[in-house]
Amino acid sequence: MQAFRYVHNWPIQRKLLLIILSTIVVSLLLVMAGIVSYELVTYRNRLAQEMAKVGGFIAANSAPTLAFDDAQTAQEILNTLVGSQSVAVAALYTTDGRIFASYVRPGRQTVAVPPTPGPDGTRFVGRTLELVSPVQKKGRRLGTLYLRADRATVYARLAGYAGILLVVYLAIGGGAFLLQRLLQRLVSEPLLRLSRTAESIAGGDLTAHVPVESADEIGQLAGAFNHMTAELAHSYADLEMRVQERTEKLTSALQKLRTETEERIHAVEELRKRERLLIQQSRLAAMGEMLANISHQWRQPLNVLGLKVQELGLTYKFGQLSEELLDGNVAKAMEIIQHMSQTINDFQEYLTPNKEKTRFSVDQVIAKTVSLIRENFQNQNIGIKTISADDPQITGFPNEYGQVLLNLFMNSRDAFLERGITEAQITVRSWVENERAVITITDNAGGVKEEILDKIFDAYFTTKELGKGTGVGLFMSKNIIEQNMGGRLSVRNVNGGAEFKIEV
């Protein structure tokens, strides 16, 4: 157990060497043990067989020498036994028991040749085998052969095997060195490389790579290892990339959110500013318009007033100034001044926004608006025709409504002037449709270009010359009708003109 634990910590190369060498040594020892036991177990039989064979040969060859009393040839025949390792003693006896010829293996001269052969047969005496065989021909006995064998052969063979074993072990000892080098190259080095790579990967180097040099288990391991490392590197890179992506996305989303919020706040502020500006602008515009209209309204009464005042002066000079005339002219002048004052009141009232919704007649608002501009429009040769039906009633803000109408009339007038239209005509129609009060204001000024038809209600959109239009009028009109009164303001082109339609 101690030894096993000691070997346990050896490098693989040495373990393999140990396994291989011990396998070889043990198998050789087993083979040798087998051979030795086989030799020891079977040598008697083999020796007996060998002796029988040798005996048969010697007997056959020596038969004529016994028959014809040729002791010299018999001796020559026995001497050939020097080539046999087994036979230690051999002798030929005549039929009357005399020693005819004998042989003792060189180096064994101390062994005596028995004076008589003894009975025929094979027998073991101690460690030696004795063979006594008759020499005969055609059933006739010519003499007796005596052979004695010992274990020298077995020992000689075992010594031979031991020599072979020794040589083989020496060869293994030499081969072990070469084997170790080979194992180092085939097993240890690839494993060490693998181990070093594993260490560098553990140290964080995901680019580490093991060269795959063989298709064996180590090669497969190296391949799997490389694959694993590549996967690891890939996963790691992928993970980092994803984290980065997410971070970037979050950052940009946050940035976008901030920008959007700022933009919205900014837009809302802008919108408020613009609205305030618009309201101011539209008021100024309306006041301008009103001033123009008032000036038109006042021109004729001012002329009349002037005439009445001049008449007073002239009649006085010529002494024709009567009390009657004076009273009459003063009354007339006062009436005119009253009228002019009324006109200002009318305009003032018209421009004051209604505070509460009231029910009002659309036709009345039309009539009032037309009366404000009729004089002005007549001077510019623009005719206004009113066609009313159903006397539609609306709940809302009559002044604002009137301002919208005024705006639309002004719009048409601008178009007429700009395009130099003669026989300019504005037709105002009013009726009830599906319980809604409908007004159309139609002119013959050529209409709105199709490509800008859906833009004319946008704030600051204008087709007029620089300095003339503000682009606020139609936008404010749409606002008043749709936002304040829940109605609809639309435009379309009809028979060489534009038709604005208000539905409330």
């Binding site: 004529p64 021909k137 059933g139 006739r140």
Partner: protein, 180 residues
């Protein structure tokens, strides 16, 4: 009785004295018996499986009972029959013929009549090389008082006889009558 006693005496002598000291014909008889076991005859040399092995002595018999004694009752599985012949014509059924010295003056015609398949021709005639040249197969020679033999392997092979190669090793020569 005297003769039997003499033979018995010789037999006893043969068994008790050294081989080399045995009488000349005692040795030759033993050798003839051994030739019978170291030579194989063709199957055609025997009419049946139980046919006897026929050993013949042509001319004066120098062996007496010695040959009978050395050959024993059987050669291999065959019973032994010994014939003593006066004329070569009677040797037709012989498997082995020993030509006695009494016939050496007419060796040539005797051999001519004996030369047939399946007969081993042995002799101790004086002119062994002449004997071999004319078809003799085994000739006894005595060198320094010891009986030996020469082989005419070629003639034996021609007669269909198969001589054990180990026999050739103990023979003086295997080319008796050839190359001379």
């Amino acid at each position: 009785m005297r003769r039997i006693a003499a033979v018995m005496g010789m037999l006893l002598l043969g068994y008790t004295t050294a081989y080399a000291e045995a009488t000349e014909y005692q040795v030759k008889a033993a050798m003839l018996a051994n030739f019978a076991i170291f030579v194989d005859w063709p199957p055609t040399a025997f009419s049946t499986a139980g046919s006897p092995f026929v050993a013949c002595v042509l001319g004066d018999d120098p062996f007496g009972r010695l040959l009978e004694h050395e050959l024993g009752e059987r050669v291999g599985s065959r019973p032994v029959e010994i014939r003593y012949l006066k004329k070569a014509d009677a040797a037709a059924e012989c498997h082995m013929v020993f030509i006695s010295r009494s016939e050496q003056h007419q060796l040539k015609p005797v051999l001519a009549s004996l030369r047939k398949t399946g007969t081993l021709i042995v002799s101790d005639a004086g002119d062994i090389s002449g004997f071999c040249r004319n078809g003799g197969m085994i000739g006894f020679v005595t060198e320094r008082g010891k009986v030996r033999f020469d082989l005419n392997a070629n003639a034996a092979a021609k007669a269909g006889l198969k001589i054990d190669s180990k026999l050739k090793r103990v023979s003086g020569s295997t080319e008796c009558g050839e190359g001379r």
